[in-house]
Amino acid sequence: MSDTNFDLVVIGGGPGGYVGAIRASQLGMKVAVVEREHLGGICLNWGCIPTKALLRTAEVYHLMQHAEDFGLSAKEISFDAKKVVERSRKVAGRLSGGVGMLMKKNKVTVFDGQGALAGQGQVKVTKDGKNVAVLKAKYIMLATGARARTLPGLEPDGKLVWTYKEAMVPDNMPKSLLVVGSGAIGIEFASFYRTMGAEVTVVEVMNRVLPVEDEEISMLAHKAFEKQGMEIVTGATVKNLKIGKSNVTATIEKGGKAEKVTFDRVILAVGIVGNIEDIGLEKTKVKIEKTHVVVGKYSETDEPGVYAIGDLTGPPWLAHKASHEAVICVEKIAGLTPHALNTSRIAGCTYCHPQVASVGMTEAKAKESGRKIKVGRFPFIGNGKAIAMGDDQGLVKTVFDADTGELLGAHMIGSEVTELIQGYAVGMTLETTEQELMETVFPHPTLSEMMHEAVLDAYGRVIHV
């Protein structure tokens, strides 16, 4: 029987839990992670990573279809859906194995099973209904994540009506697809399937796609998707799904009018709910609000010694938020003095085509906050590298506080912007003003030059437009 006394027990081995465990180990704690399914969590196994593998396939496929634009010729371009999925699964598998190695290397004990709070300072681990162990811990971190939300009348059946999980492993490509919800998850699948040839319809209840993004970016994305042949219906809801033998008939309601449309497949991407069940919260003081655990600045719950991080807690529901939150939580437990998480400096990335990335406040939010602002814009069409890449559609936009020069937000759409946004995020974390960004020498030729120009533009100093 292995040792069951720990300084910290983490329930859930996703990007929040395992990163927190490693940090705790670095700080000299004796740590265990309880994981019910696979290390790396949804992110690594059924989320961020495998979708990126699929989207890479779509990108290469798209380039092959446009080979002529680059002076190349490619004939009889086709794909094997099985192999596409296989590649995606391999990538996920490789990384999950990597997390296992990291746990070993950092002397984190991993328990295979479902973890649940079992009295003060105790975590019970069960597997298939059988008790595996009872762990004692000074501190417990809940990192059980979230799962797809379902709405009444919109329940997945796993065959024709999918959640992200089934959507990631199609046995063949549907001819027609309905995506319900145009957040990051919905739009990434819509983009993937559209590029691979499916007729895709996206229904969004809000008045624009990617509704958390800056409105200008949403509009540009909307136009780009439509140009690719996607059908987008905003301000609409899917009332009902009638599942047939090989297709699904959806009732789409917009402006009081209902319309019935039939699709091969439906993907539900209408948000997430926290995994608050079966982890022993009932007998604790841990507070729940709308399926998420309520925590303080340093992830502490109302139950002494119990902490919660990541998707299980409040937004933004992003893997990198979970990781960082876990690190802060652990450092606080260890007696260090980390800054609490500033969610306004967490970048969000959507890997559709064209990509969308942003950090901080949208222009509208910045205005709402009562600040005087300066806004800068720079289009991809003015950037040499973008033109050379054959990808000259897109925009970089900055929002500054006019009084202090604080970079309040940055919003981008276009090729590779998900790799660019961290530049602004670093600047925000270092509390840059426009001056430091202007004084930074951006290498030529890169897409990043647009980040410089978008800052210059906010102050009337743009060069290349």
Partner: protein, 427 residues
């Protein structure tokens, strides 16, 4: 080829100056050594000599221009056989920055001999912008945004505890400070923008360089030097009678002042308690090997402190003569930098104005200043009985980082017999 007359570096630390007056005009013939212009530096007006003979071909920088950077061409000298056509393009290669502008930074190295160098001063610098929060001492770690917000709100960053890495002040710290009521920075308080206009009538007298230096240095001293004060009364009847004897000697062509005695007495006392002849630095207390005493002299342009160097080695007569020369040069604005830069201790005497006593601000980077009041007849207790004595009150201001109370007291204790029984000074 025509010779460019350059803005001279009149002291090792001078970066710019005011071209106050041209003494020649275009077309004038000059000989090597002729005085051609007057240059006002931070503390004094200096004469500019021609280094070659020739004809003044062109005056590039007009007189009255402030902030002319060192090594900027200010005029052109034509040599024999050259005429105006040889001058060519003389539009100043480095732009002449009109006033007002950042102050030069005169940071005299006390105790070290002034460096006379014939080589060009450091390359002319671009106009410097004042730091958002001008404070002396250690660099304050702060994010650019924190600095900007603090500067906008005129909050003193030094008063804010940083919560970032290595105590870096971040935005949140400054915002928290808003509620905490942190002191606003001094720079804000002295900036003209902060002087409200209540509609009173006024005229504005432009600040001379000397005025600006006084303002900056004394503000810095009062803000950054922890002052404390000790007062002592000296009975100077013996000193007065000795002075009378010496001045009354046959053939005496001198007139020793009370201040000359005070200078000499301080010099001797400084040798006994050398800690008052020292400067604070972050790493060490710098104790000066020479006894150089700065003497406050009022001039029309403002206060200046010429130095009696090696005062402990000089006799009363030598001190007296030198003091008269220095004071007269100071009033004529003719002090050379080495005559006022440095010093390890200052004496400020307002006795001639009938001031009974006052507390002076330390002259940084020195650590002590003696404020001397008037010598006047006061009732004193002598051998248990009331008597009349001539009493002079003096106040020593000390930088507590260097001079502790006991050390300051020791100095005054050493000074007292030297002033009250000054015969020993003659030894």
């Amino acid at each position: 080829m025509p010779i460019h007359i350059l803005m001279p570096a009149l002291s090792p630390t001078m970066t710019e100056g005011t071209l106050s007056k041209w003494l020649v005009k275009e077309g004038d013939e000059v000989a090597s050594g002729d005085i051609i212009a007057e240059i006002e530096t931070d503390k004094a007006t200096m004469e500019l000599e021609a280094v070659d003979e020739g004809k003044i071909g062109k005056i590039i920088v007009p007189e009255g221009t402030e902030g002319v950077e060192v090594n900027n061409p200010i005029g052109v000298l034509l040599e024999e056989g050259e005429d105006e056509g040889d001058i060519g393009d003389v539009s100043a290669p480095v732009p002449v920055v009109p006033a007002p502008k950042a102050e030069p930074e005169p940071e005299p190295e006390p105790g070290s001999a002034p460096i006379e160098k014939a080589l060009p001063a450091p390359a002319a610098t671009a106009p410097r912008t004042a730091p958002a929060v001008p404070l002396s001492g250690d660099r304050i770690l702060a994010s650019p945004l924190a600095k900007r917000i603090a500067a906008n709100a005129r909050i003193d960053l030094a008063a804010i505890k940083g919560s970032g890495p290595n105590g870096r002040v971040v935005k949140a710290d400054v915002e928290n400070a808003f509620s905490g009521g942190v002191t606003r920075s001094a720079a804000a308080r002295v900036s003209s923008a902060d002087v409200p206009d209540f509609g009173q009538a006024y005229t504005e007298v432009a600040n001379t360089n000397v005025r600006k230096v006084i303002a900056r240095r004394l503000l810095e001293a009062k803000q950054t030097v922890p002052h404390f004060y000790m007062k002592v009364d000296f009975v100077i009847d013996n000193l007065l009678s000795l002075r009378k004897d010496l001045n009354g000697q046959d053939g005496a062509d001198y007139n020793l002042s009370i201040n000359d005695f005070v200078i000499k007495a301080c010099a001797v006392a400084m040798r006994k308690v050398p800690m008052v002849n020292a400067s604070w630095t972050d790493d060490a207390i710098r104790m000066y090997e020479n006894v150089d005493i700065s003497i406050a002299v009022a001039t029309e342009g403002g206060l200046i402190t010429p130095i009696i160097r090696n005062a402990d080695q000089k006799g009363l007569l030598a001190i007296s003569t030198e003091m008269k020369d220095l004071a007269s040069s100071a009033r004529d604005n003719k002090l050379k930098p080495e005559e006022f830069q440095g010093g390890g201790f200052t004496i400020s005497n307002l006795g001639m104005y009938g001031i009974k006593e006052f507390s002076a601000i330390i002259n940084p980077p020195q650590s002590a200043i003696l404020a001397v009041g008037v010598g006047e007849q006061r009732p004193i207790v002598k051998n248990g009985a009331l008597a009349v004595g001539t009493v002079m009150s003096c106040t020593l201001s000390c930088d507590h980082r260097v001079v502790d109370g006991a050390v300051g007291a020791e100095f005054l204790q050493a000074l007292k017999p030297l002033i009250e029984d000054p015969l020993s000074l003659l030894l």
